[in-house]
């Protein structure tokens, strides 16, 4: 549980004739992590793909082309297709369906490109319609140049002033302003053409070539519009046809694609193993606990000709090369997500999942600490788990984490802080006995919940800080302890360092308790840890320093010098970062207080200002505002609590013992989403 699954390095050796069966069995077992074979020599070579690989790849190619053409990537199939049906029907279906689909798609493309084409023409015609000349007037001249198109700036005056007055009757200019540009048609003598083109170009001229037709542009445009309308209808029918194909074959095509992907993967497995002319050797890892099962299963299908041998590698080699498979009790498994986000532990390391499973919900719950938000989080977690989690393992696990975190938040909210949706159950008094925020509470709005708060977020801030520091001591001591275990067989010097840090941490913690005395809770903590030594105090300019705490820290510093000699100075400076780690845990109090204060302030504003007047419209507005503000607090609070609880694990905790970087255990195997091996 604490360490990743123990692995055994095994070799599977047998005749080539049995290779197919063995691969098939290994894929079904989902237990064997192949170590890729790479050192070829004249006798031992990398295997060749099984024969069926090429046929299956071709099927796969066609299937994928059809799936892309039909846009089935986001298709939600309504049934799982049995493998027997896939193997029976695929070839026959591909033979008929492929041409049909490709035909339909091609048709569709043709229609839509024809529509695009007509639309461009239509746009040209609407420009010519603005100019108002019949289409035949743009062409068929010998000595006249024609310009037609659009310009960004007006050009008529520019041209008229640029040409000789003698040429004025040798040119005809039509210029009509439109929304963003000008429609222009110019007819002139050929000699003037170059000069005019120059002026046009400087005005942002875009030529538009009129179609070779006769008659009014408006009529032609209407004809095109009619044609486009008809084509649109055809396109719709084509789409319907494609939709029918999607519905009818979607589930089958996705299932077939999945099945043949698996088959190709199986068929290409020999590329990862060593073969000679007549035999094969597979080298890899199997969980030690499943070794017998694997051996038995292979024996059952392949008989005595294939042998499975435990290679019994050395402890060092096992530690350095074995793949990592996490192994945790069921409720802790969702939290493996956090470990994977960071990086898998090394094979020899401790798997911290179980500790994250215990600590994360506690921290998260303390920071939220509200019955209402906790209940909402549980609901949100359940929705994530059941709805979003259907297709995604990540969402499923995150949903469970939120559910567990929400449970603790509700628990703390109900029994410790006694508040829901930022509103305390009963009026809160500060330590002078005065009402906080006019006694705003559930009781004040008429709902009496018979629970008494043990701690008020807005009053007992120092107690919350003390709880945070206590959490810091427990959590980091655990981290250092795990660090000691991790390093013990690896590097004794590092392991000793962890012990020294444990001593210093205890010293810092005791000194903080000395300084924090005051309330019942803090005095209780103080007596529990420093009770016997409470008399040993030296005063230093008003600050009480515990002799025992000082002695512990000094002992740690001596330890540094013994271990490191002169370079101990660097380690001594690190004491400051350990202290900052401790203070870092006070974010538990900080977020709890900040979120609680924000929610209470919003409640106060709405209840006292919007509801007090008694105006029904303002009250309705008040309800809407209240819901929006509550959503804001809920979203911000949950997000920051989640990230901060995670950070305390990642930074303050993990960095005390965790290396990470283990190789993932990836056994031969597959998961079917669309196809199924059982008959339906």
């Amino acid at each position: 549980m604490i360490r990743p699954e123990r692995m055994a390095r095994i070799a599977i050796v047998g005749p080539r004739s049995k290779l197919d069966t063995v691969i098939q069995t290994l894929y079904e077992l989902n237990l064997f992590h192949v170590v890729d074979f790479s050192e070829e020599d004249p006798d031992v070579k990398i295997g060749a793909p099984l024969e069926k690989a090429s046929v299956d790849s071709q099927r796969l190619l066609k299937l994928r082309a059809i799936i892309r053409a039909l846009h089935l990537e986001d298709f939600k199939p309504d049934r799982k297709v049995p493998v027997s049906e896939i193997e029976q029907r695929t070839d026959q279906l591909l033979a008929t369906l492929e041409p049909e689909v490709m035909d339909k798609i091609e048709q569709r493309q043709e229609i839509s490109s024809r529509i695009r084409d007509l639309q461009t023409k239509k746009e040209i015609l609407s420009l010519l319609e603005t100019i108002g000349l019949p289409l035949e007037s743009y062409s068929g001249y010998e000595n006249i140049s024609v310009f037609s198109g659009t310009t960004q700036q007006p050009v008529k005056d520019k041209i008229l002033s640029a040409i000789d007055s003698r040429d004025l009757d040798r040119i005809e200019i039509i210029e009509i302003p439109r929304d963003a540009d000008f429609a222009v048609a110019i007819f002139c003598k050929k000699e003037l053409a170059d000069r005019i083109r120059e002026i046009l170009n400087s005005a942002g001229y875009q030529e538009i070539r009129p179609p070779e037709n006769k008659g009014s542009p408006g009529e032609l445009k209407a004809r095109y519009a009619e044609e486009i309308e008809k084509l649109r209808e055809t396109l719709e029918r084509a789409d319907e046809g494609i939709e029918v194909l999607r519905k009818r074959y979607g589930a089958f095509l996705l299932a077939a694609e999945e099945h043949y992907s698996i088959e190709v993967q199986k068929a290409e497995t020999p590329l990862r193993i060593a073969t000679t002319k007549h035999s094969f050797t597979m080298d890899g890892w199997v969980p030690r606990s499943s070794y017998d099962e694997l051996k038995r299963s292979i024996k059952a299908v392949a008989g005595d000709s294939v042998s499975v041998e435990d290679l019994t590698v050395s402890k060092t080699e096992e530690n350095e090369t074995a793949p990592v498979k996490l192994r945790n009790i069921l409720p802790a498994r969702p939290f493996e997500l956090f470990i994977e986000l960071m990086s898998k532990p090394l094979y020899r390391e401790i798997d911290p999942t179980i500790f994250v499973f215990i600590v994360f919900p506690l921290f998260f719950g303390l920071m939220i600490g509200d019955f209402g938000y906790g209940a909402c989080l549980m609901l949100a977690g359940f929705v994530m788990y059941s709805k979003l989690g259907k297709d995604s393992d990540g969402w499923r696990r995150l949903g469970l984490i939120v559910l567990i975190g929400g449970f603790f938040a509700a628990l703390f909210g109900l029994f410790l802080f006694c508040d829901a949706f930022g509103l305390p159950f009963h009026p809160v008094h500060d330590e002078r006995g005065e009402l906080v925020l006019g006694g705003l509470s559930w009781e004040a709005v008429g709902i009496n919940i018979p629970m008494e708060a043990h701690m008020e977020k807005l009053v007992d801030v120092k107690d919350l800080l003390a709880i945070s520091v206590f959490a810091a001591w427990v959590h980091m001591s655990l981290g250092l302890g795990l660090g000691f275990v991790n390093e013990f067989h690896h590097d004794r010097k590092h392991a000793t360092m962890k012990i020294i840090w444990l001593v210093i941490l205890l010293g810092l913690f005791m000194q903080i308790l000395f300084m924090a005395k005051g309330s019942e809770l803090r005095n209780g903590l103080f007596l529990a840890f420093c009770g016997p030594f409470q008399g040993y105090v030296i005063s230093f300019s008003g600050l009480n320093i515990s002799v025992v705490a000082l002695a512990l820290i000094l002992a740690g510093i001596v330890g540094f010098f013994v271990l490191h000699g002169k370079s101990a100075m660097m380690e001594i400076l690190e004491i400051l970062s350990l202290l900052s780690n401790v203070i870092s845990y006070t974010r538990i109090a900080a977020i709890g207080v900040a979120k609680g204060a924000m929610a209470l302030a919003f409640n106060y504003i709405v209840i006292y200002y919007l509801f007090a007047g008694g105006d029904i419209l303002i009250m309705i507005a008040g309800v809407i505002v209240l819901i929006l503000l509550q959503l804001l607090v809920f979203a911000l609070g949950s997000l920051s609590s989640g990230i901060q609880a995670l950070r305390l694990n990642y930074v303050e905790f993990f960095l005390k013992f965790y290396n990470g970087g283990g190789v993932d255990f990836e056994p031969l195997g597959y998961k079917r989403r669309f196809s199924t091996e059982s008959e339906v």
Binding site: L341, R432, V461, G518, S580, S584, T586
Partner: protein, 77 residues
């Protein structure tokens, strides 16, 4: 000392610490998002680097609370 001045001090402590954290996080955050976009496995390390400067604002918070308590904000003690 005038409790008003102490309260201003407490406000400055957390406010300035917040600005400091913000400045530190803008660089780390941008880099972390970039690294995660390139390789999703960087997410965990990204969170660490992103969250490191947050300790600064926590220091501010602790000092602010201590000042507030010293001013008699929670009374009692």
């Amino acid at each position: 000392m005038d409790p008003g001045l102490i309260a201003i001090g407490a406000g400055l402590a957390i406010g300035l610490a917040g600005i400091g954290t913000g400045i530190a996080q803008q660089g780390a955050g941008a880099a972390a998002v970039g690294a995660t976009a390139e390789d999703p496995k960087m997410f965990g390390k990204g969170i660490i680097f992103m969250a490191l400067p947050e300790t600064i604002v926590i220091f501010g918070f602790v000092i602010a609370i201590l000042l507030y308590a010293g001013m008699g904000g929670f009374a009692g003690d």
